[in-house]
């Protein structure tokens, strides 16, 4: 699986369990909003950077990219606050937001998708009480990831087929003549996939079961 957002490094942060990291992130968010002072936000930012760059040894670029994506917004936020309230409250809001986004990026960059999936399955364990099956969450995730490239391929195929017949519709017409048939094809494929899943034991109930009386 290609994970552009995961950065493999042998660090204690990487080794920490995904559940603990997610809890820390949640705790940080609570802290930043419960104690809205410049000192707390500043300390949290320094701490986040220390963990991310110092302990986890992530490349600066990984975190810089996140901050850079927010640059105009943070700037605009500062200006709006300076005009409506004061510069200090603007700086505080910007700092808090930046800290949270960077902390989230640290968790994402140090945790594999498979570990996250395991956490999600564990979080879904209470579903068992109401008759749900937590393992199905893992299956859903796997299936969605598998469908993404298939979908792109089918979309290309439809486009090619239409181009071969001299039509390359644009605009709203393209959506109707390309997306609608594509969706129908994909729904049929999803149905076929479900049959294949059943054939490999996904479900022990027949597809066309008699109605409950």
């Amino acid at each position: 699986m290609t994970l552009p957002l995961y950065v493999p490094v042998a660090s204690p942060v990487h080794r920490l369990s995904a559940g603990v990291k997610l809890l820390c992130l949640a705790a940080l968010a609570v802290l930043l909003f419960a104690r809205p002072t410049l000192t707390v936000a500043g300390a949290a930012l320094v701490g986040t950077l220390a963990v991310g760059l110092g302990v986890a040894r992530l490349p600066v670029a990984v975190l810089a990219r996140q901050a850079w994506a927010l640059r105009w917004f943070l700037l605009a936020l500062l200006v709006v606050h300076a005009l409506t309230t004061d510069v200090a409250s603007g700086a505080h809001t910007v700092l808090r937001l930046l800290t949270l986004v960077l902390a989230a990026a640290v968790v994402t960059a140090t945790t594999r998708v498979t570990e996250m999936v395991a956490v999600v399955e564990r979080l879904c364990a209470p579903l068992r009480l109401v008759g749900g099956r937590p393992q199905r969450v893992g299956l859903l995730i796997a299936m969605a990831l598998r469908f993404i490239p298939v979908l792109v391929e089918r979309a290309d195929r439809i486009r090619a087929a239409q181009a071969a017949r001299g039509g390359a519709p644009r605009g709203v017409r393209a959506l109707r003549t390309t997306v609608a048939p594509l969706l129908v094809q994909l729904l049929q494929m999803a149905h076929d996939v479900s049959e294949a899943l059943d054939a490999r034991g996904a479900d022990d109930v027949p597809a066309h079961r008699p109605r409950r009386t």
């Binding site: 598998r146 076929d192 996939v193 054939a199 490999r200 034991g201 027949p206």
Partner: protein, 246 residues
């Protein structure tokens, strides 16, 4: 409070009798008002059984009856004495199913994960799972691709992967629904050779008549009925004659 699931088997009656093969008794199937299959009485015990028929003849539904993917609206289908209606889980463990479109049966993003899927459903412990997956991948020349994304495989490799995902579950019988239709000649031949080498009972639904060379028995399905039931030579001749009169 518990609801009894109507499809679930009554407790512990998995008394499979491997000698009985696949039996269809007075089988018919309708989708709404449309009759897809009717009046089918057969017993399939031969190691190699082929099924041919035009598009829309009902042969795909026929294939799906054999492992309980479709439960017949009339009559019953028994696999080694197990009814597909009431013991579908046991039936599916005995009868593997390979579909036409490999993309529609690969459900996990990477090769090894996908092969392991059926074993997870069967509750096979992780160590044994890994060993069996590795063995199957080795046997079908996919060992080097274990951690590769499935969508980067060629069409032929994808079909091999789909077959590996079924074989790893060690079913006693395997149904193939047009397994070579979407493959080029080289890959179709590889799949044909693979099928020929299987020790399991095999039922193959196909348009590619050369796939049936050396088969024991071929059924010709037309208009929802089995119109011919013979060795490959005569059956294929009947099928060709039937198609020429269209």
């Amino acid at each position: 409070m518990r609801f009894r699931r109507p499809g679930a088997a009554p407790a512990a009656v998995d008394v499979a009798d491997p000698g009985r093969g696949i039996e269809l008794r007075g089988v018919g199937h309708r989708y709404g008002d449309r009759v897809v299959l009717e009046g089918i009485d057969l017993r399939l015990t031969e190691p190699r059984v082929g099924v041919v028929g035009a598009n829309g003849s009902g042969k795909s539904t026929f294939a799906r009856l054999l492992n309980g993917l479709v439960v017949p609206t009339d009559g019953q289908v028994l696999v080694d004495g197990l009814d597909t209606r009431t013991q579908v889980r046991a039936v599916r463990r005995r009868v593997g199913f390979v579909f036409q479109d490999p993309d529609a049966q690969i459900v996990h993003p990477t090769v090894a994960e996908d092969v392991a899927y059926g074993l997870e459903n069967q509750g096979v412990p992780p160590d044994e799972r890994a060993a069996r997956v590795a063995e199957v991948l080795e046997r079908y020349g996919l060992a080097g691709h274990a951690d590769h994304p499935a969508h980067l495989l060629s069409g032929g490799q994808k079909q091999l992967l789909a077959i590996a995902g079924v074989l790893v579950m060690r079913p006693a019988r395997i149904v193939f629904d047009e397994p070579t239709t979407l493959l080029d000649l080289v890959n179709a031949r590889r799949v044909a050779e693979l099928i020929a080498g299987l020790e399991q009972q095999v039922v193959v639904v196909t348009h590619q008549l050369d796939l049936l060379d050396g088969f024991d028995r071929v059924l010709v399905v037309d208009g929802g009925r089995v119109v011919e039931d013979a060795p490959p030579g005569p059956a294929v001749a009947t099928y060709r004659a039937l198609m020429e009169h269209r």
